[in-house]
Symmetry: C2
Subunit: 122 residues, 2 copies
DNA sequence: TTAACATATGAACATACATTCATATGAAAG
DNA sequence: CTTTCATATGAATGTATGTTCATATGTTAA
């Protein structure tokens, strides 16, 4: 870490402001949970998968076809989404159908999408 | 890519469903923009910085002190946030004060935070 | 104009992780 | 019960990126 000597003078670290921010800020676990969630959305393959099952359920094969991806790639990413409990699945015969686990996700994605679309207009 | 031969049978790729999803889905540029935005939130250092300047402006030194981080680390991450136009800055003497560029961000973060807090309750 | 301070930046390094290949598992049909 | 199909998974590889060290830039005060 940084040696205190190097950090500004007496005025500069605005301790009062810092204290106020500290009170408001999410704690370490919340930051970790939140950044982990964003990490799931940060990969474009996973994001495409999530968007695909936003309103319907699809089997792995459908996802491969729809997104033009390797079956192994899709399964690996589905595994990650499953571990994070972002998607759920049910077996029907040989196929396994995936869908969103959590409706909150839909809201976060659509809110975010609305935002970037607004940005574009400006 | 995958050889079609390996993908399911005649029934399985549900082409009708796939077509419907294709119509709804964000296009490639939107997916890219969206995942890039999530990528910015996905790193816990950047997320902490963003949360810190959510309601106030802080100088680099304040962020180092508040987050107990190397000055170089903070500057590098601020650079990334600046390039993405997520934060703005103004110079006042020797110090440079950073704050949120875009109020949308505040909404996305707080919505997402609300969601993970709800999750915890269940 | 020199010294001290506040921040930025380039290079190097380590690590995380997305994709692919090969193969395993598990279900259904014959 | 063997084969085929649908999906899962382990290992290997390449790439992206976060952190650090060293140093540069730019500002103020003496």
């Amino acid at each position: 870490m940084q040696d205190k000597e190097f950090i500004c003078g007496e005025k500069c670290p605005h301790y009062q402001k810092i204290d106020e921010v500290k009170k408001m800020e999410p704690n370490i676990e919340e930051i970790e949970t939140l950044s982990n969630m964003f990490k799931l959305f940060a990969d474009h393959t996973r994001l495409r998968i999530i968007c695909s099952v936003l309103n319907t359920e699809l089997c792995v094969c459908d996802l491969c076809e729809l997104l033009d991806l390797n079956q192994s790639t899709v399964s690996h990413q589905l595994q990650i989404l499953r571990n994070a409990k972002l998607v759920k699945f049910r077996r029907e015969g040989k196929q396994i159908y995936y869908s969103l686990q959590d409706e909150h996700i839909e809201q976060i994605i659509s809110t975010s999408l609305a935002h970037i679309l607004e940005e574009e207009e400006q």
